[in-house]
């Protein structure tokens, strides 16, 4: 077979994807290498206890975990996107409703909660920063602060919800506003859709907060046992990424629900 035969192997170009997809072996010799167990043993020092057997290096394991987390966050964003689409559709169909209803939500409570979530995002970032510097105490302290922020957020939400329930603002068919503060909503057509969307989207968001609290508590317990170090903190990083996402979703929910005039 002459070298130029169309069926022969072609020069290996890093094509079609140019970013960081290369492997260093593109110019390997034209042989098949088989590494023997001894070769593995030579790398035994590379295998710290947290390294799972199907990975070659901690770095590979960490990168894979992180990429997996980002993909998971992508699914979360798309999940919420359904609610944003529903929101946008109804806002387009019934703009007056949305203006009337948004004013019924307590902007100050919403803004306060936004700041609380941003603060907890900061503390998670600081927690990662701490463990990167091998600061165990700092890691634990910042994780606790984050959990505190999450708890405050939920308490505020609880008061927001119950306050509305007391005036008959429920999701769906149970929606029948009355009283001084909310009674006028009874005359606003399609107000039910607004509040249903409000409850469904903030409700699902709250479920994510709770899930995030569970994850971070678990990370905290592991941190107390001293599991993490500057060379291994995958779970802190992943928990942190998830928590930031919860924050990101709220950054959009807050102005859309509470602020739009």
């Amino acid at each position: 077979m002459p070298p130029g035969h169309p069926n022969g192997v072609r020069a290996d170009r890093n094509w079609p994807l140019r970013f960081d997809f290369t492997t260093p072996m593109a110019s390997a010799p034209a042989t098949l290498t088989v590494d023997s167990p001894e070769v593995h043993d030579a790398h035994a020092h590379d295998h710290p206890p947290h390294l799972q057997h199907h990975f070659v290096s901690s770095e590979q394991q960490f990168d894979a975990a992180k990429m997996g987390m980002w993909l998971f966050l992508a699914t979360e964003i798309l999940l919420f996107s359904g609610m944003f689409v529903a929101y946008a559709v109804f806002r387009t169909l019934y703009p007056a409703t949305y203006e009337a209803c948004a004013t019924a939500l307590n902007t100050m409570q919403g803004a306060f909660n936004t700041l609380v979530l941003l603060g907890s995002s900061l503390t998670v970032a600081l927690a990662i920063n701490a463990i990167q510097r091998d600061d165990q105490k700092g890691l634990q302290r910042y994780l606790l602060l984050t959990l505190l922020g999450a708890a405050i957020f939920l308490v505020v939400k609880y008061f927001e919800y119950t306050h509305k329930f007391h005036s008959g603002i429920f999701p769906g068919l149970a929606f029948h506003p009355y009283g001084e503060e909310f009674g006028h909503l009874a005359t606003v057509p399609y107000a039910r859709q607004f509040f249903s969307l409000y409850y469904v989207s903030t409700g699902i968001h709250a479920i994510h907060i709770i899930a995030g609290m569970v994850v971070l508590s678990w990370v905290y317990l592991k941190a107390r046992k001293g599991t993490f170090s500057s060379s291994y903190y995958t779970h802190v990083e992943l928990g942190g990424l998830y928590w930031h996402l919860v924050d990101v979703i709220w950054i959009f929910l807050f102005p859309l629900l509470y602020l739009i005039h």
């Binding site: 970013f19 941003l118 920063n129 005359t187 602020l259 005039h261």
Partner: protein, 168 residues
């Protein structure tokens, strides 16, 4: 190298664990910026001198800036493997596609009069009329409730059935 320890994309620096460590001062600065933008979004959201058509774009722009800040610095995308940025961007594009096509359809529905004779503008107008009618209905209900001293004045008509209870 006898044994190619490096697999795939993890190849850049195998062996040592040199992750980028974001300095605390940077994190604090980002946080300050986020607080600033939150205040800004509340302020612009409440400002009456801003034309109402601009409220949503302004709020969304500010939210977007905030999200970029969080993603780049708190979530570390700036110094991370590029592929994670690609994932986030792709996701954003798909959200926009989803939102864009659906909204486009909603605003154009009824364009040929094939099903629904009303366009969104008609509907908005009708809604205005609806609310006037609702107000009347509510007033009538309240008056009735007063005159008969009915117990449950709270039972305002359901928002969903505008026509069934409309008073002429």
């Amino acid at each position: 190298m006898a044994h190619p320890a490096s697999h795939s994309d993890a190849a850049h620096d195998d062996g040592h664990h040199g992750h980028y460590v974001a300095p605390v001062s940077l994190l604090l600065k980002v946080f300050a910026a986020l607080v600033f933008f939150t205040v800004l979004t509340v302020a612009t959201g409440r400002a009456d001198w801003i034309p109402s058509a601009l409220h949503v774009p302004i709020a969304l722009t500010i939210a977007l800036i905030k999200v970029v800040l969080v993603a780049m610095f708190f979530m570390g995308l700036k110094h991370d493997n590029r592929v994670n940025t690609v994932i986030l961007s792709l996701t954003t594009i798909f959200v926009i596609v989803f939102l864009g096509f659906t909204l486009f359809d909603v605003t154009q529905r009824g364009d040929l009069g094939n099903v629904d004779q009303m366009t969104a503008a008609d509907r908005a107008y009708m809604m205005h009329e609806d609310s006037v009618r609702y107000a009347q209905t509510a007033a009538v209900t309240a008056a009735l409730a007063d005159s008969t001293a009915a117990a449950d004045s709270a039972a305002a008509p359901s928002a969903a059935s505008p026509d069934s209870t409309a008073a002429p």
